[in-house]
């Protein structure tokens, strides 16, 4: 069974204070790892897909990295508008469980950036 654990559950930073969010996963065969941003009362918004260890993706102040056991979402010099819950999800191959195409999500990291 695929599993995703995100840490910390909540993180409060000052504006401009860089940090990293962690996503640890177990999956029999990784088809993809996905990062999403979710604002209160809204659906998750897709950020990045990572497919293999060593891969990195960047978008504005966010950078996602992937190893064989975990992924990090690095946030550099964050601004208050970066405040949101960040979700990590994995998709394994069909015989790894979790449905033919479904994503297995972590519980998310609630990030607050104070001005």
């Amino acid at each position: 069974e695929d599993q995703v654990t995100q840490s910390p559950e909540a993180l409060r930073l000052q504006e401009g204070e860089s940090s990293s969010l962690n996503c640890s996963y177990t999956v029999s065969g990784l088809r993809g790892l996905f990062w999403y941003r979710q604002d209160p009362g809204k659906g998750p918004e897709f950020l990045f897909t990572l497919y293999s260890a060593g891969e990195e993706k960047e978008k504005e102040r966010l950078k996602a990295t992937l190893t064989k056991k975990e992924s990090f979402l690095h946030i550099t010099a964050p601004k208050p508008e970066d405040s949101a819950t960040y979700l990590c999800a994995v998709q394994g191959w069909p015989d790894g469980g979790g449905g033919a195409d479904g994503l297995t999500f972590g519980k998310g990291t609630h990030l607050i950036i104070q001005p």
Binding site: K42, G43, F46, D101, G102
Partner: protein, 111 residues
């Protein structure tokens, strides 16, 4: 570009009443469609997925059901709601090995 719609946005229903939530996708054909539920303090849980019209797979035993009457329409239903059915219901579309894109969600409160 692709757009995904869900309605209603919010719903308050008594225990034992029926449920019908609708999801439609625009701008793509033959998408894979998914229903997830997000409960407080828990991650998103996959409920149903569909790879084509009339093809529904269930991930979690429950009193909910799903149907796909048209290529870009996905419906979540229940004959009798339970208190435990309360939550935030999200529809998503995607393709194998690709990201899934989520709709705005429906907030369901069962009283």
């Amino acid at each position: 570009s692709q757009t995904i719609h869900q309605w209603p946005a919010t719903l308050v229903q008594p225990v034992g009443s029926p449920l019908s939530l609708e999801c439609t996708v625009e701008g793509t054909s033959n998408p894979n469609l998914y229903w997830y539920r997000q409960a407080a303090g828990r991650g998103l849980q996959l409920l149903f997925y569909s790879v084509g019209i009339g093809q529904i797979s269930s991930e979690v035993p429950q009193n909910l059901s799903a149907s796909r009457p048209q290529d870009r329409q996905f419906i979540l239903s229940s004959k009798k709601l339970l208190l435990s059915d309360s939550g935030f219901y999200l529809c998503a579309w995607g393709r194998q090995g690709m990201p899934q894109y989520f709709g705005p969600g429906t907030r369901l409160l069962v009283l």
